[in-house]
């Protein structure tokens, strides 16, 4: 392995991809077939993949331990058609002896669940038929969203084709302002470079701010790499990663996932090539909101205080982790949700749910007049559990604010961090956390 990667300076992404091929060298722009460690599908994307795979008439999948199936988008099934989609996943898992099928009651939002269960470790090459699969870059893994056909092909061959991406480096320096987190950093970045600013590229986040950034914030950042058109997001694995992964592997084993992989900690070489380098002084970054209808339409919260809302959503694969709920609860403790607002809090997984109950966070949300839901992607993509009517407006900790994303084509979504969403729920309009504390 060392022989392979010492030949020329590489980025983390290039090193991981090279490691998953039989090649001796690798270059951006080159087409490769790479072995994958995990291939993920959900109730929307896996049915197509399963249909295509079964047409091949193969007896077995390439490796049943490397396939993960999570019904999370429209689950618990929102209607009969969705129930059927979920059933396709369950039947496929049963037929092929796939253990990593997570049924309602054990499932969660896939990109919160997989890291939590230790299913992804540093150095992995992961594909998922879900665009937010780029989340796992936070663990120092190469991880990219693909389509259902890619997933079907991987079920058969264990491989996926890639064009080796160029990398863009994003360096964050300075000290974070109060109420600014990973979500604000990534929204600020997307606002700066645009929704196609990193098209086909690997976004490598680094610098002193990232080195001390908690894992949940790192996951939120890499999660939204796709909103800048990125192929993947990645953060060099370090002590924070090591501790997180160790705990996750233990947690996974407790839940019968039983991964025995510690991962490989790759770092970018000093001479590695980047197509661009962006430097941000985070002292200049305040809590921000992405206004309709693109995640790049970013403005400081302070400029948007006149905008009234009907709904606040706290959850999703971007911000449905325990630290997100803690942050929201800190704002909502002892307060009431505005009478004109529906607050919907959705923990990312069963474990996050249980932890929120144990810590009294669930009680805070319910006493404030909010809803505390079972894990689901739900409203983020206009599925269920909080669809917007014509003319309604939501502040949401989710990742997309496209036209009609959360419901009616004439409804609007404003993307924010959990503290801003909680403060807005209290005020009934877009609000800065310091307005309510």
């Amino acid at each position: 392995m060392t022989k392979k990667t010492n030949s020329m300076p590489y980025t983390i992404t290039e090193k991981i991809l090279l490691r998953h091929t039989k090649l001796k060298t690798i270059h951006p722009g080159e087409f490769i077939n790479a072995k994958v460690d995990i291939c993920l599908g959900n109730d929307i994307t896996a049915p197509f993949a399963i249909e295509e795979f079964e047409k091949l008439n193969l007896r077995d999948v390439f490796d049943k331990k490397k396939i993960v199936l999570v019904p999370d988008h429209f689950a618990p099934a929102k209607d009969m058609k969705s129930a059927n989609q979920c059933k396709i996943l369950a039947n496929f898992a049963k037929k092929h002896g796939i253990k990593n099928y997570f049924e309602v009651g054990r499932m969660g939002i896939e990109h919160v669940l997989l890291p939590e269960m230790g299913l992804v470790v540093p150095g992995d090459a992961v594909i998922g038929a879900d665009s937010h699969t780029c989340t796992y870059g936070a663990l120092g893994a190469f991880s990219a969203g693909v389509g259902s056909t890619d997933l079907a092909a991987a079920y058969a061959t264990g491989e996926c084709w890639f064009k080796v991406p160029e990398s863009i480096k994003f360096i964050f320096s300075g000290r974070l302002n109060k109420w600014v987190g990973g979500k604000d950093l990534i929204l600020h970045t997307i606002g700066d470079i645009g929704v196609d600013g990193a098209l086909y590229k690997a976004m490598e986040f680094c610098g002193p701010v990232i080195e001390i950034l908690p894992m949940d914030d790192r996951l939120a950042m890499c999660n939204m790499a796709i909103e800048a058109g990125g192929k993947s997001g990645i953060i060099a694995p370090d002590k924070i990663t090591k501790k997180f992964v160790k705990e996750a592997l233990t947690f996974g084993k407790k839940h019968g996932v039983g991964q025995n992989r510690r991962g490989r900690f790759y770092l970018s070489d000093p001479g590695a090539k980047y197509s661009k380098v962006y430097e941000y002084d985070v002292r200049k970054i305040e809590p921000v909101v992405a206004c309709p209808n693109l995640p790049s339409n970013v403005r400081p919260v302070k400029q948007l205080k006149g905008i009234s809302i009907n709904q606040a959503v706290i959850g999703s694969c971007t911000n449905g982790r325990i630290s997100d709920l803690r942050l929201a609860a800190r704002i909502l403790r002892g307060k009431k949700v505005n009478s004109a607002v529906r607050l919907i809090v959705i923990p990312g997984t069963q474990a996050v749910y249980l932890q929120a109950v144990r810590e009294g966070l669930a009680k805070i949300f319910v006493e404030a007049g909010g809803v505390f839901s079972t894990p689901t992607c739900g409203p983020c993509l206009g599925g269920h559990v909080g669809i917007l009517a014509e003319g309604e407006r939501a502040v949401s900790t989710t990742s997309r604010n496209f036209i009609g994303r959360m419901g009616h084509v004439k409804s609007e979504v404003y993307l924010s961090n959990p503290a801003v969403a909680a403060a807005s729920a209290i005020k009934g309009r877009i609000a800065h956390p310091e307005e309510v504390l």
Binding site: K78, A153, L199, L381, F402
Partner: protein, 160 residues
Amino acid sequence: MHKGKVHKFGDDVNTDEIIPARYLNTTDRGELASHCMEDADPRFAKKVKPGDIMVAGKNFGCGSSREHAPIAIKAAGVSCVIAESFARIFSRNSINIGLPIIESPEASERIKNGDIVSVDTVKGSIKNITRKEKYAFEKYPPFMRKIIKAGGLMEKIKRR
């Protein structure tokens, strides 16, 4: 060779507009086609004719990884999509299922809604019959051509 009437769209058309998530609880291609482009142009599915061509601006197909998006476009009868640029997952999904997509900033800028256009993917040329113009485009790299020639990724795998 593809020839048809152009339906023109703007920049950053996302997969939620191409096929809204509320219709993702099915894998029925005909049903997906009937809702194609619904949130961008509610009349699109009714007016599109077999062979028609979609032309868009930059970053076409951004957003979710749903393969339902190129499937809906293909099943609606669209013969090919021309854009200034394509979002990554949409691009690979289209190649994998055999929907021809063509990156041409020049064609994307010059072609207007309703134009009649013909596309020769082998030669790498686009002819605007209405405006009597020609636009060139980069042909696919050999790796992608192999997938397209096989009739999609699954066909390529079957041959292996």
